[in-house]
C-alpha cells in the first residue's frame, strides 16, 4: 500500500516567523496544468505594514554587521539551497512546467546568484567608494551605505531566480527587504523563506509575502518608512502609478523596463540601493 503524503502548509514569512495572514485570507495555487497544489496565505495591507516595521527594526543590525559577516550569511543561503536542490527543482517544475532541465538550470542559477553576491559584500564599497582630493587640509572619503528598507516586486517567471536576483543584491550592502514573489508561482519563494530562516539571516531582514502585489504594492509605494521600490517584476502592474506614488517620499526606484544595468547579476543592482556618504574631517596644519 502506498503511503499517503503530507502536504505542506505555505505561510507568509514575516519577521522571522511563518504566519498566516492576519486577515485570514488565502488563495489557491495551481501547477502548470491547472491542478490544485496548495492554499497559500494572501497577505493583507496590515501584513505588509508589519513587514515594513520588522524590516526597519532589523535594518540597524543587518547594516551594522560586518561586510564579511553578511557575505558569509549570503553564502550560507546558497549552501542550504544546494542541500534542498531537488525540492526547489520539483517546485519550480510544477509551477512553471517547461521541463525538469530548465527548472534545474533555474535553481542552479539562483544558488549561484547567492554565491556571486555573497562575494560582493566586502568588496563593493572598495569599488564604489573613493578618497577625494579636495583643496584644503581635509581628509575626504566617499563610501556607499545601504538605502534602508526595500520593497520588491519579483517577476512571474523565472519565479525563483527573479526573486533571488532582486533580494540578494539589496541584502549585500545591508538593506532589509519586503518582497512579493510571483503571485501565480509563490511556492518556491515560500520554500526559500525556510532556507532564509535557517541560514543565520536575522529575523526581519527578509520578509516574503505571498498574495496580490496589485492590491498591496500601492501601500508599500506610499509607505513613508520604505526607502526604495524595486519594480523590476512589476510589468503587469500599474507601475507608473506606483512610481508616482513613491515620488511623494522620494523613494529610490528600479522601474520594470530592463535597462542595461538591471541585468540579473550586476554590481549596478547593488549600487541602485545604496547612498554615497561623503565625510570631511579636518587635518591639523603642521
Amino acid at each position: 500500500m502506498s503511503r499517503l503524503m503530507i502536504p505542506k502548509t505555505y505561510k507568509l514569512y514575516l519577521n522571522g516567523a511563518f504566519v498566516r495572514s492576519e486577515s485570514g485570507r488565502s488563495y489557491k495555487v495551481s501547477d502548470d496544468n491547472g491542478i490544485f497544489v496548495a492554499n497559500v496565505a494572501m497577505a493583507s495591507r496590515k501584513d505588509a505594514r508589519e513587514a515594513v516595521v520588522a524590516a526597519r527594526v532589523a535594518f540597524a543590525g543587518w547594516s551594522g554587521a560586518s561586510a564579511y559577516n553578511r557575505g558569509q550569511v549570503l553564502y550560507r543561503i546558497a549552501e542550504l539551497m544546494e542541500g534542498r536542490r531537488e525540492q526547489f527543482v520539483e517546485e519550480v517544475y510544477r509551477a512553471e512546467g517547461g521541463g525538469k532541465e530548465a527548472a534545474a538550470s533555474q535553481v542552479e542559477g539562483a544558488i549561484d546568484t547567492w554565491v556571486w553576491y555573497a562575494g560582493w559584500a566586502d568588496k563593493y564599497a572598495q569599488v564604489a567608494g573613493n578618497a577625494n582630493p579636495v583643496s584644503g587640509p581635509y581628509f575626504n572619503l566617499s563610501v556607499p551605505e545601504p538605502t534602508g528598507v526595500v520593497a520588491t516586486i519579483a517577476g512571474r517567471r523565472p519565479c525563483l531566480l527573479s526573486l533571488v536576483s532582486l533580494i540578494a543584491p539589496a541584502l549585500v550592502s545591508g538593506n532589509t527587504v519586503v518582497a512579493f514573489p510571483s503571485q501565480a508561482h509563490p511556492l518556491p519563494a515560500l520554500s526559500l523563506s525556510e532556507v532564509l530562516a535557517t541560514s543565520d539571516v536575522p529575523k526581519g531582514v527578509v520578509n516574503i509575502l505571498s498574495g496580490s502585489p496589485a492590491e498591496i504594492a500601492p501601500w508599500l509605494a506610499s509607505h513613508a518608512d520604505v526607502n526604495a521600490l524595486d519594480l523590476t517584476g512589476a510589468e503587469d502592474l500599474n507601475w507608473i502609478e506606483l512610481q508616482m506614488s513613491a515620488a511623494e517620499t522620494l523613494k529610490r526606484i528600479i522601474p520594470p523596463e530592463t535597462a542595461a544595468w538591471a541585468a540579473w547579476r550586476s554590481l549596478d543592482r547593488i549600487l541602485a540601493f545604496t547612498e554615497i556618504k561623503t565625510i570631511w574631517h579636518t587635518k591639523s596644519v603642521i
Binding site: I240, A259, T278, I279, W280
Partner: protein
C-alpha cells in the same frame, strides 16, 4: 525685465540641444570637449569680479562670499570636470560609457552661478547637451554665462539658457525629448518632478531640502565649533540646503555655547551686500522673508525662546537679523521644517545615542556636522548619521572633487567628484562574451536583450 520662456521657446531650446547633441557634441572627442570646458573655466576666472558683483547685486549675498566662495568654486568646477572628458573609461561604468542625450536642468536662487556650474560641467564633459533654467529671481549670472559660452565659441545649441518661472521649468522637465532631468530646489518641487518623470525613460537626479544637524560634543574645540556653527547656518543668510540649522549641543556645555554664540553673532555686520566688510547680506525675496518670519513666529508660539541680534536693519530691502532659538523640542516646526534663512534651532542631548537619534529624526538627510576632539567617536557617529555629507570639525565645505547629495527625502544622485559624473552617463551595453564581465554583469539565458535608454529613444523617434 527678463524674458519668460513659453512652450515654443522651450521646444526651440530642446530642439537646438538635440541637434547639437546629434550633429556635434556626441561626435566630438573627449579631448575636445575637455578643451571647451577648460576655456569656460578660464573665461570665468578672467571675468570673476564682474560675475561676483552681478551675483551679489542679483542675489543679495555678501560680495565677500560671492567673490571668495562662489566664483572660485564655479571656475574650479569647470576645471575639475574638464579633465574628466577624455577619461570617462575610468569613471567606473566600464569602457566607453555613453552620454544620456539632452539634459534639462533647473536650478535654485541661493547659489545661482555655482549651481549652474554643478549642473553644466558634468553634463557637458560626459557628452550631453544642456537646456538650463535659472531661478526666476536670479537669472543675471546665467545670462552673463551665456556670453561666456559665446566667447568660448562653443558650438551653438550645446548650452541653452532659458529664463522664466515655475511654468517654464515644468515645460522643460516634462518635454518629451529630454533624456535627463537634474533639479536642485525644494522638496515640494522635487516630488512634483519625480511624479512627472514617472513612466518615462528620463533619468533623474534631485538635490532637495535639508534640516542638517550640527552636533557639538562637550570635548569639542569650542572656538572652532562656534565659528563652524556660525558658518553652518549664517553663511549665505542661511539660504543653504545643507545648512546646519539644528544645533545639537551636549547638555553640559549648552549655556557656555549659547553665550559664546550670542557674543560672536553680535559682531556680525549685516547690510549692503556690495560692501566687502558685510557678513550677512539681504534675504533674496519678499516671499522668502515672509516664510522666515512665519516660521520664526511659529517657533515663538510653540514655546521656544527667540533671540535675535540687536542690530539695525537697513530701511529698504528684505532683511532678517541672525536669530537663534533655545529650548527647542524635536516636535517644534522650527526643528522639523526647512526655514532656509538665518535662524538656528538649538536642542540638547546627553549621550551620543541620543544625539544620533535626534539628528536622524527627520525625513531629510542631506548634511550633518560633528564637533569633538575624539576621532573614534567622530567616526562612530559619522557611521550612524543618515546624511549624504558629514562635516567633522568643519562645516559647509564644498569642492568639485567631493560628492554632494542627500539620503531619504533630500533627493537622490550626487553632484561633484566621480560620483557626480555618473549622473550623466550610462554604461555602454556590450553583447556576446566581450567586455560584459568587466562590469560585473553575467550573461544568462534568461536575461532579456537590453537596450540603452538613449538608443531606444532614438529608435522610437525614427519609428
Amino acid at each position: 525685465m527678463i524674458a519668460c520662456a513659453d512652450e515654443k521657446d522651450v521646444d526651440a531650446a530642446v530642439a537646438a540641444a538635440r541637434r547639437a547633441y546629434e550633429t556635434v557634441w556626441s561626435k566630438l572627442s573627449g579631448t575636445d570637449r575637455g578643451k571647451y570646458l577648460f576655456r569656460i573655466a578660464r573665461l570665468i576666472q578672467e571675468r570673476s569680479r564682474e560675475l561676483a558683483v552681478a551675483e551679489s547685486l542679483d542675489n543679495g549675498k555678501p560680495i565677500k562670499e560671492s567673490r571668495d566662495v562662489d566664483l572660485p568654486l564655479v571656475a574650479a568646477w569647470f576645471f575639475y570636470y574638464a579633465g574628466w572628458a577624455d577619461k570617462l573609461d575610468h569613471a567606473g561604468l566600464g569602457l566607453d560609457p555613453q552620454p544620456l542625450g539632452v539634459t534639462a536642468q533647473v536650478i535654485p536662487w541661493n547659489f545661482p552661478l555655482l549651481m549652474l556650474a554643478w549642473k553644466i560641467a558634468p553634463a557637458l564633459t560626459a557628452g550631453n547637451t544642456v537646456v538650463l533654467k535659472p531661478a526666476e529671481s536670479t537669472s543675471l549670472t546665467a545670462l552673463l554665462f551665456a556670453e561666456i559660452v559665446q566667447q568660448a565659441d562653443l558650438p551653438p545649441g550645446v548650452i541653452n539658457i532659458i529664463t522664466g518661472g515655475g511654468d517654464t521649468g515644468r515645460l522643460l522637465v516634462q518635454h518629451p525629448d529630454v533624456n535627463k532631468v537634474a533639479f536642485t530646489g525644494s522638496t515640494v518641487v522635487g516630488r512634483e518632478i519625480a511624479r512627472a518623470v514617472a513612466g518615462t525613460q528620463k533619468k533623474l537626479t534631485l538635490e532637495l531640502g535639508g534640516k542638517g544637524a550640527n552636533i557639538v560634543f562637550d570635548d569639542a574645540p569650542l572656538d572652532q565649533a562656534i565659528e563652524g556653527i556660525v558658518n553652518g547656518i549664517f553663511f549665505n543668510q542661511g539660504h543653504v540646503c545643507c545648512a546646519g540649522s539644528r544645533l545639537l549641543v551636549q547638555e553640559g556645555i549648552h549655556d557656555d555655547v549659547i553665550e559664546r554664540l550670542k557674543h560672536r553673532l553680535s559682531t556680525l555686520r549685516l547690510g549692503d551686500p556690495l560692501d566687502k566688510n558685510t557678513d550677512i547680506g539681504a534675504i533674496n525675496s519678499a516671499k522668502q522673508l515672509a516664510r522666515i518670519e512665519a516660521l520664526s513666529s511659529a517657533g515663538e508660539a510653540e514655546g521656544a525662546v527667540r533671540w535675535s541680534v540687536p542690530c539695525r536693519l537697513p530701511p529698504k530691502g528684505y532683511w532678517f537679523p541672525p536669530t537663534l532659538f533655545t529650548g527647542v523640542s524635536t516636535h517644534h516646526a522650527i526643528a522639523r521644517e526647512e526655514i532656509f534663512g538665518p535662524v538656528l534651532s538649538v536642542l540638547t542631548f546627553r549621550t551620543p545615542e541620543e544625539a544620533i537619534a535626534k539628528a536622524n529624526n527627520t525625513p531629510y538627510g542631506l548634511s550633518a556636522g560633528i564637533w569633538s576632539d575624539k576621532g573614534s567617536r567622530i567616526l562612530a557617529v559619522a557611521d550612524k548619521l543618515r546624511a549624504g555629507v558629514i562635516w567633522a570639525n568643519t562645516f559647509n565645505r564644498f569642492d568639485p572633487a567631493s560628492p554632494f547629495g542627500g539620503y531619504k527625502e533630500s533627493g537622490y544622485g550626487r553632484e561633484g567628484g566621480r560620483h557626480g559624473l555618473l549622473a550623466y552617463l550610462q554604461p555602454r551595453t556590450w553583447t556576446g562574451d566581450g567586455p560584459v564581465g568587466q562590469r560585473g554583469t553575467v550573461k544568462m539565458s534568461s536575461v532579456k536583450p537590453v537596450k540603452p535608454v538613449e538608443r531606444s529613444r532614438k529608435a522610437a523617434r525614427k519609428a
